[in-house]
Every structure is written in C-alpha cells, then in structure tokens.
C-alpha cells in the first residue's frame, strides 16, 4: 500500500468532506493518522470549520455565558 504524505493526507481529508472516499483511500488515511499528530489535528480542525460555518448565522443568538 502506498503511504501518504501530509500534503496528500490533508487533501484527502478535505475531499472526504465533499465526496465519498474509496475504501483504499480510507485505509491509507487511517494508517497515516496512526503515526501523524499534525494530520489528526488538521482533520479535527477542518471538521470544526464545518460546524462553525453552519453556526455562522446563529451567532449572537445565545446569550453569552
């Protein structure tokens, strides 16, 4: 199996938010995440961006804690 670089990994993580990844792509990602903290963080951060963008028009609706 081909090992991914961080550049390829982040690219696939992003595409995973826009299309269904192939089985081989998912396996390759899992292998890379197992050894790479930076890419695990990037994945979490991209998922967070999605949540933040969905919350965008609601900002200020909830009272500040």
């Amino acid at each position: 199996m081909k090992l991914l670089t961080c550049r390829e990994t982040t690219r696939l993580v992003s595409q995973g938010l826009d299309r269904e990844l192939a089985f081989g792509e998912r396996v390759a990602l899992r292998v890379h995440f197992a050894i790479c903290t930076g890419c695990r963080r990037a994945r979490r951060q991209m998922a967070f961006l999605r949540r933040a963008m969905q919350a965008l028009p609601e900002d200020g609706v909830r009272p500040r804690a």
């Binding site: 670089t5 961080c6 550049r7 390829e8 982040t10 690219r11 992003s14 595409q15 938010l17 826009d18 299309r19 903290t37 930076g38 963080r41 990037a42 979490r44 951060q45 991209m46 967070f48 961006l49 999605r50 949540r51 933040a52 963008m53 969905q54 919350a55 965008l56 028009p57 609601e58 900002d59 200020g60 609706v61 909830r62 500040r64 804690a65």
Partner: protein
C-alpha cells in the same frame, strides 16, 4: 407577535448584520444591498410566517440565504468570477516541505466548542473568510454555509469537480491558518 411598526423597526435594526452577511458571500456591495432589500421586502410581506416562533435574526437570515443563492446563480450566468492566479494546488504558502510533510506541525486548538459560543469568534471567522480569494471564498461559502453539493458548485462556477475540490481544500487550509493566527494561537 410584535406590532407592525415595532416589527419593521426590529427588522431595520438587523439590516447592518444582514448586509455584512450578504457581502461576505457575494463580495459585491451593490448585489448584497439588492439581496438584503429583496429579503426585507419578502420578510415584511410574510410577517405572519414569522409569528414570533423563531429568533428574528435566524428567520431573516433564512430568507436572505435563498436570495443569495438566486443572486449567485444570476451572477454566474451574467458575470462569472475570473479564475485567480493562485489557484494552483502546489503553492500552499510553504505549509509543506518538498517531501510533502508539514514544515510546522499544526498546534492543537483548545476549547473550539467554547469559541462557538462567542460572537467575537464569529467576527474573527468572518475576517478570515473575507481574506480568501473571491472564487475560493465563494466555493467555500456555497459548500459549507449554503450547504450545496460539489456538483452544483462546479456548475455555478463553471469548473471541474477536481478544481472545485482544490478550491475547497485551499479554503480550509487557509482558514485553519488564519484562525490559528487570529484566534486559537492568542
């Protein structure tokens, strides 16, 4: 339900917010102004549809969103945004070394959920969005905020799916970096 005059005043008070919201997505002050105007007219005509159920801002934003999607479709037919010079994937501002690994590993973000509770965070996010190149920002807003599928974004922007994924990837990486600098790294 608020009295009519009161309702109108409440709606007018939200106008600056709505304008900022529309400009962020259309990147064209005149088009944003038109959209907001159309949305306000629709809102005043459909006041009974509101009936105090939802938050007024949320309700108005929902109406405005539809107007923005229409405007984007119109714009892509009449005056498509030009391709940008920096849409090339290989140039991600030195994030990666030649061997494809991080030049600097992304730091962990502390309490991202807490950020979603703060309006200051959303101001920072908006500022980062405004810094994206026009087409990149447009593709990203269509995907993540308006919730359109890649296929439709390709059609509206007249680009291939691969190109679309590149734009979305660039947007996500740039926003990560920007939020790191302006919010999470502080």
């Amino acid at each position: 339900m608020p009295a009519p005059a009161d309702f109108r005043a409440q709606i007018q008070a939200l106008r600056p917010y709505l304008l900022r919201y529309a400009s962020l997505q259309l990147r064209d002050a005149a088009a944003a102004e038109d959209c907001v105007q159309e949305a306000l007219v629709a809102a005043l005509a459909g006041e009974s549809g509101f009936a105090g159920r939802a938050n007024l801002r949320t309700w108005l934003t929902g109406i405005l969103k539809h107007k923005i999607v229409d405007a984007i479709r119109r714009q892509s037919r009449e005056a498509p945004l030009a391709a940008e010079d920096d849409e090339d994937l290989e140039d991600l501002d030195g994030l990666f070394a030649r061997n494809g690994h991080w030049t600097e590993r992304p730091p962990a973000w502390s309490d991202p959920d807490g950020a979603l509770e703060q309006s200051r965070f959303f101001r920072a996010l908006e500022a980062c969005l405004a810094r994206l190149p026009a087409r990149t920002g447009r593709a990203f807003m269509m995907r993540e905020h308006l919730g359109l599928e890649t296929g439709e974004i390709c059609k509206e922007l007249d680009i291939t799916p691969t190109h679309c994924w590149v734009l979305l990837y660039r947007a996500r990486m740039a926003l990560r970096e920007c939020l790191q600098q302006t919010w999470f790294g502080k």
